[in-house]
């Protein structure tokens, strides 16, 4: 393909970065982002098969790779952005990995790699394999672990590439053998691919990296005839033993699973002190992050924006609701209320709903910015509307939870609570739940009759979230609570060091929250055990969101933090000039958020 070609009206081909059996891999620029240079990898597959059946199989394999990748979110797996077929060419658009593969690094290196270096890579490879093996509904067997399929990116971390043959694994199923000779275990040659095969191939890869002896040039399964320490005496006996376990001829003699493999490596790393050094990684400096666009309002932005039909809507303390073009931040309209707007807008069937300190819920046409109707409460509104069942549910400083019929603009009911409601209700299939400033937490059915009530020791300003029939929220008593949605019983609570108004989010069995003790926390949803905590430079006042493999959260230090959500590792931070109190919102690889410095920002995810 000619350099300079534009594919699908979107991807400008800039360079060839690899050549494979079926076609080339290109570096391309995504022209959908005119204001920034977004580079992607475009993998081309030319279908030259003579007969139709084979051609179809090839296209199916290609689409399978795309579909597998699309379901995966891991820092060590390239993200998939797009795939399409033109004539006899299929294309996969992937995250561009800026780095080199291990085979090239090995061949360019002068001597042996340091043991620490290899163990560090090995632990990360175990991590990503564990992620694949734990994939639901079926484990994914990578099946092609070898140095040339492992990239080391610019910050020194591993990225697995070439999912051409990774396929969902069904136990006992015999498949066609497509592993790489030299790295594959004996059973893979019989057409069996399993978790144990990936363990063996990782062992083989590590053996190759430590000994520089290419297994493809040796007799199959002859690793034990080339003891690592005989070739490279610098390797510890412990590591040799671990790799030998992975390389056992019989699958049942190897590590039982990749976690056991990893645990052995971590045990070794802990002994040598490597583990404490592993955490430090290159961090993208905040100056490197350029917003796609910014927009200045006339006062503080304290709430959370909304993205709806290509527009960003945000309330502002200058009394207005703003509508901006999501792609470039261009101003569309603003709608003035008579009070500060700190709530998050909600959208439903072409209308935007927002509460204001002027005591009103305003209903505004999303295109024109014209008001349709307003609904009056007897106090300022700090609780954001939640739209469900053709109603807007929200609280007010008049202590009532309001259920307003969107068709009539009138209340279907109001429910009186013991205090002002700042928390945003959450609506499940049959319940409306909300907390108030007195620390009471209510679960009502759709007819406003109370199903259960819970009391925290202090106010609940945070908004609840429900996942797998468990309600999570934080409170000013410094706790993260997990309540059974069916009966309000506390399943567990986790004590943070200071009060919290942070609305938690939940992903992959982890609960994320923050507190005035400056930390962002990740907790195990089942055991309430802390998985990691990340210390910001001031109170955590904003709420976190998870988008793809990252957590985004603003803090009172004015920074928006981007962390790897599984590890809490800082990826980048972006500084604004005022505390961030709302949550960011992510859409189409762009993160939108407001700051009390009066600006709304759009950053690349």
């Amino acid at each position: 393909m000619q350099l300079g070609t534009t594919l699908a009206n979107r991807y400008l081909i800039q360079d060839v970065i690899g050549v494979g059996g079926m076609g080339s891999v290109y570096r391309a620029r995504d022209l959908h982002f005119p204001n920034v240079v977004k580079l992607v990898a475009v993998k081309e597959m030319i279908n030259q098969a003579a007969d139709a059946a084979t051609r179809l199989t090839i296209v199916q394999n290609f689409e399978r790779e795309a579909n597998i990748l699309a379901t995966l979110h891991h820092t060590a797996i390239p993200r998939i952005y797009d795939y399409f077929t033109q004539n006899n060419h299929s294309f996969l658009v992937l995250e561009l990995v800026n780095g080199k593969d291990l085979e090239s690094i090995l061949s360019e290196a002068d001597g042996f790699f340091e043991e620490d270096q290899v163990v560090g890579w090995a632990i990360e490879l175990c991590d990503v394999l564990a992620y694949l093996h734990n994939h639901k509904p079926e484990p994914i067997i990578f099946r092609d672990m070898k140095p040339s399929n492992v990239m080391i990116n610019a910050s020194g971390h591993v990225v697995l590439v070439d999912f051409g043959i990774a396929k969902p694994f069904q136990t006992g199923q015999k498949g066609t053998m497509i592993g790489t000779e030299g790295y594959s275990p004996p059973e893979q040659y019989r057409g069996e691919a399993s978790i144990a095969a990936d363990i063996y191939a990782l062992g083989a890869t590590l053996h190759h990296l430590l000994t520089r002896r290419d297994p493809r040039l040796e007799a199959p399964f002859s690793f034990n005839e080339r003891p690592i320490r005989k070739i490279n005496p610098g390797v510890s006996a412990d590591l040799e033993m671990i790799i030998n376990t992975a390389l056992q001829y019989n699958a049942e003699d190897r590590f039982k699973n990749i976690d056991a493999f990893k645990e052995s490596l971590v045990g070794l790393a802990r002994k040598t002190g490597l583990l404490s050094r592993l955490g430090t990684t290159a961090i993208q400096s905040s100056s490197a992050i350029k917003p796609l666009w910014t927009f200045q309002c006339e006062d503080e932005l304290r709430g959370t924006p909304l993205v709806y039909n290509g527009m960003v809507y945000t309330g502002c303390y200058d009394n207005n609701l703003y509508a901006l073009n999501a792609a470039d931040g261009k101003f569309a309209w603003k709608y003035p209320t008579d009070g500060g707007v700190v709530t998050r807008p909600a959208a439903f069937e072409g209308n935007i709903y927002i509460g204001s300190q002027d005591h009103r819920l305003h209903t505004i046409n999303a295109r024109s910015g014209k008001v349709a109707w307003t609904y009056y409460t007897e106090g300022p509104i700090h609780s954001s509307p939640r739209i469900a069942e053709n109603h807007a549910f929200f609280g007010s400083d008049d202590k009532y939870l309001h259920a307003v019929n969107l068709g009539t603009g009138r209340a279907s009911w109001r429910f009186e609570t013991s205090a002002e409601i700042w928390s945003t209700p959450f609506v499940t299939e049959n319940l409306v739940i909300v907390g108030n400033e007195n620390g009471d937490f209510y679960a009502l059915d759709f007819r406003s009759s109370m199903k259960w009530r819970f009391q925290a020791k202090r106010g609940i300003t945070a908004s609840p979230v429900v996942q797998d029939r468990v309600v999570y929220f934080t409170a000013l008593d410094g706790m993260v609570y997990a309540l059974d949605i069916n009966n309000g019983f506390v399943l567990w609570r986790f004590r943070m060091d200071k009060p919290s108004i942070v609305s938690p989010c939940v992903q992959d069995g982890m609960v994320f929250a923050g507190s005035a003790d400056n930390n962002i926390y990740a907790l195990d949803a089942r055991t309430a055990k802390e998985i990691w905590r990340f210390r910001t430079e001031h109170q955590v006042s904003g709420s976190p969101i998870i988008y793809k493999d990252a957590l985004y959260c603003g803090a009172a230090d004015g920074k928006l933090y981007c962390l790897e959500y599984r590890t809490g590792r800082l990826r980048w931070k972006f500084e604004t000039k005022g505390p961030i109190t709302g949550a960011p919102v992510a859409f189409d690889d762009i993160i939108y958020f407001g700051s009390t410095d009066h600006f709304i920002y759009a950053l690349m995810a």
């Binding site: 671990i242 376990t245 049942e252 003699d253 190897r254 590590f255 039982k256 976690d259 056991a260 493999f261 645990e263 052995s264 045990g267 679960a443 109370m450 199903k451 259960w452 819970f454 009391q455 797998d468 029939r469 468990v470 997990a482 059974d484 069916n486 009966n487 309000g488 019983f489 506390v490 399943l491 567990w492 609570r493 089942r526 055991t527 309430a528």
Partner: protein, 302 residues
């Protein structure tokens, strides 16, 4: 005389029973038919827990040192009827003098503590809110059991796997190598607990293989048990009860000799929970019954 006849006589001699016309034949439904009726997706209203349990001393031990407890009820309230169940298995340690005392004391203390916490909910009209979370109640109950076992049966030890089902959530407290399994409706199974045994640890670390672990001479050595050591770190976890599936609690007298596939088959194919428990225990005894066997099988009907 008629009176005694009626009491002790065989059915066919009882003249008082109405004679059925010979043409009517009511063959009992086969188990397969019953199963298909049960599996027809009838919704249980209110949600309820079904329980089976069984124990056997096994074929090689003289004493039964396992203890088990099952308590099942429902709590009615504003939020509807909530199933409530407490299920505990404890395996007293074979080598110790007071193995039986330890497992029994652990279960009594634990159940007593938890029932006191829930007393108002279960037996009083006015129910005050629980001050602690369910995980905290579980933790405190285990600590209490630990104190009592240390005092009442010094030098002994016991495993403890307790499951508190409330609504559709299960909170599990666990020490030692008894196990809680979840058997899902789609045929999957999962060990929810982690054995606190030396060989399991060696296996996790890759020092020995699963097959070596199964025959390892030290496979009964625990590194964590109730009654052992001053500080006890129990595993506590809250998980949703597998919808339409089962929870199996058992001592190593069962899981150590009957493989997971067989466990699964016996549970899924069983005509009733009680029968499944007996079949599980039978399978362990057929395999030699080297240790005491205890099993509690629970199903949540929703």
């Amino acid at each position: 005389m008629d009176f005694f006849k009626r009491l002790f006589g065989k059915k066919d001699t009882q003249p008082s029973l109405p004679q059925q016309p010979e043409s009517v034949v009511t063959a009992p439904l086969t188990e397969a038919q019953l199963q298909s009726i049960r599996g027809a997706g009838l919704r249980a209203e209110p949600a309820q827990l079904l329980v089976g349990a069984g124990q056997s001393v096994g074929k090689q031990r003289e004493l039964n040192e396992d203890s088990l407890l099952t308590l099942t009820t429902t709590i009615a309230g504003n939020s509807g009827s909530q199933p409530f169940g407490l299920y505990i298995i404890a395996d007293g340690m074979g080598g110790h003098q007071f193995g039986e005392v330890a497992s029994n004391a652990a279960i009594r203390v634990m159940a007593g503590y938890i029932m006191r916490k829930f007393h108002d909910y279960l037996f009083n009209l006015q129910s005050a809110a629980l001050n602690e979370s369910l995980q905290e109640v579980m933790q405190d109950a285990i600590n209490e059991a630990q104190r009592v076992v240390l005092r009442e049966a010094p030098g002994s030890g016991t495993t403890l796997t307790a499951a508190l089902v409330f609504g559709q959530q299960v909170t599990i407290g666990h020490v030692g190598d008894s196990r809680a399994y979840f058997l899902y409706r789609d045929g999957r199974s999962e060990v929810i607990t982690r054995d606190h045994s030396l060989v399991k640890r060696l296996e996790e670390l890759g020092q020995i293989t699963a097959s070596e672990a199964a025959v390892h001479p030290q496979r009964n050595v625990l590194y964590r048990a109730l009654g052992q050591g001053e500080v006890l770190e129990a595993d506590i976890v809250t998980v949703p009860f597998p919808p339409g599936g089962y929870m199996l609690l058992c001592s190593d007298g069962l899981w150590g000799v009957v493989n997971e596939e067989t466990l699964k088959r016996l549970v899924f194919d069983g005509p009733s929970l009680e029968a499944s428990c007996q079949n599980l225990i039978g399978a362990a005894n057929v395999a030699g019954g080297p240790d005491n066997i205890s099993a509690v099988l629970v199903q949540l009907h929703i």
